[in-house]
Amino acid sequence: MKLLDVPQRLGEITLGIMRALGHNAAFFTELVKNVPAAVRRFFLVTAQIHAIGNYSLVIIVASGMAVGFVLGLQGYYTLSRYGAAESLGLLVALSLVRELGPVVTALLYAGRAGTSLTAEIGLMKAGEQLAAMEMMAIDPKQRVLAPRFVGGIIAMPLLAAMFSAVGIFGGYIVGVVLIGIDAGQFWSQMQNGVDVFDDVGNGIVKSLVFGVACTFVALYQGYEAQATPEGVAQATTRTVVISSLAILMLDFVLTALMFSSL
């Protein structure tokens, strides 16, 4: 590559990025514009909440329980060194509702429901189902994508709540049942230390934002996938990679904003 080619190449890359961002923004705007229509036909949304949320419950519950177990053990190990083992309930609850619940749920959602959405939309495109819908004068963004978008946004906080609840129960099993911490201390510390708005509320906000990000990425990748088996496979992979990175970056930004508002 010649020296003079470098600025040209940089320019091409920049233009490519700007074009992709613009395309994403236009797609997102169209999706949001179709949300009211999807809400009006709420039976389409409930079907998606069922498909996205209900079928993700097993992995969410199993992971929540495992994370709760580990938090119970690690938390007890750390807290007992400072003579604060009774605060285990508070530690487990705060860790889950503020951070781990929304983040791990979103990562699991990206892997379980996000890939499923991308593959479904991509295969609908490959099978000309979306084109057939277009030819029937039915907007696939309104009929297919928007209900999934709304369903995903609603399902994510519910799944995160389930994850946190099961995780706290896991922490209880380890801390109270196995290690022998006083149950009253476990629950009362949690009750006193967890704030509904600052902690639970922030967790819900995070979940909603992750729900928007993950579902959007999954739908966009599916809709823009090349209509071939390789195209759908690549789109599915991109969904997991982009969603995971987006979740981690958004988590940092949201946590920083939430800390600064304290």
């Binding site: 099978g127 084109a131 277009e134 029937m136 004068a137 039915i138």
Partner: protein, 294 residues
């Protein structure tokens, strides 16, 4: 296989190879339903259709034939407004089809039914729900009436008994028939068939061809068949266009095309390997690729 209803034949059509200039379009002086007027389309440098003009009469069955990749399906996309011509215009009953005017385009699409090559059935719905889909989306009919219409449409394609099956549980030929039932669910004025005979067994092929003709005659719709199946197309069509390399090379009634002495028409109709249309994609000489004299 014979026709089941008398065909509406035009009395004033005449055939002429397109490149003969003035006589390029059929002289159809009554009730032109769809008109493709000097349309050119392509992607970047690649021209797919070059200055093509076609006319479709109300109530007629018109075949668009040509070898694979000649631009037949692109023509359907242009009519459906999925893509926009680079030049020229397409009018449906005098109204231009404008892909940029979404509202008008959707209103126009409600008058069109399209049968996709592989059916494009919604795989998460039963056959009944597939046929009911456009009715539920576009009408406020009571469920009992939708049921009656769907059962009638499925009966017309011989699949009333399969209403509760999923698309994954039926054969490709059956899927195409269900897709046809869905296509005609709203009784469209224009029905476009993309390769309706591809991959069908002889029985299904005969039934499908017969069905297209009967549907057209019964509903008074205008039908447009994109296919390279010469025999079936000629059997049920009133008029046919032959496209090659993005150009209309000939058009006329099936009888006129069969009688044509034009080399491209003869080669296509008789399925000859040698002729103006090359079978091989442009490539370096065999000598270069294989290292032996060709």
């Amino acid at each position: 296989m014979g026709r089941t209803a008398p065909l509406p034949r035009s009395t004033n059509q005449h055939w002429a190879p397109a490149h003969r200039g003035a006589g390029a379009l059929p002289r159809l002086n009554s009730d032109i339903f769809l008109h493709i007027d000097h349309v050119t389309f392509g992607y970047d440098e690649r021209v797919i259709l070059s200055d093509v003009s076609l006319t479709f009469r109300r109530g007629s069955v018109t075949a668009i034939m040509g070898q694979s990749g000649c631009g037949k399906t692109t023509l359907l996309r242009l009519i459906g407004g999925t893509v926009k011509p680079l030049q020229g215009r397409i009018t449906l009953q005098g109204q231009p089809i404008d892909p940029d005017n979404r509202e008008a385009l959707y209103a126009m699409r409600r008058r069109i039914g399209m049968l996709f090559q592989f059916g494009a059935l919604f795989t998460d719905l039963t056959l009944f729900e597939n046929v009911a889909f456009p009715l539920r989306e576009h009408t406020a009919l009571p469920e009992s009436m939708i049921r009656d219409i769907v059962i009638m449409k499925l009966h017309a394609v011989g699949l009333r008994g399969a209403a509760d099956l999923k698309p994954s549980e039926i054969s490709g030929g059956m899927a195409r028939r269900v897709a046809l039932a869905r296509t005609i669910a709203l009784d469209p004025e224009l029905i476009m068939y993309d390769e309706p005979f591809a991959g069908l067994d002889p029985i299904s092929l005969g039934v499908a061809a017969n069905l297209i003709r009967r549907l057209n005659d019964a509903t008074g719709a205008t039908s447009l068949i994109v296919s390279h199946d010469v025999d079936e197309c000629f059997l049920i069509s009133d008029y046919a266009y032959l496209i090659s390399a993005g150009r209309v090379v000939a058009h006329g009634t099936p009888e006129q095309l069969r009688a044509s002495n034009e080399p491209e028409v003869r080669q296509f109709i008789r399925g000859e390997a040698d002729g103006p249309v090359k079978f091989h994609y442009p490539a370096p000489s065999a000598e270069v690729d294989f290292g032996v004299p060709a």
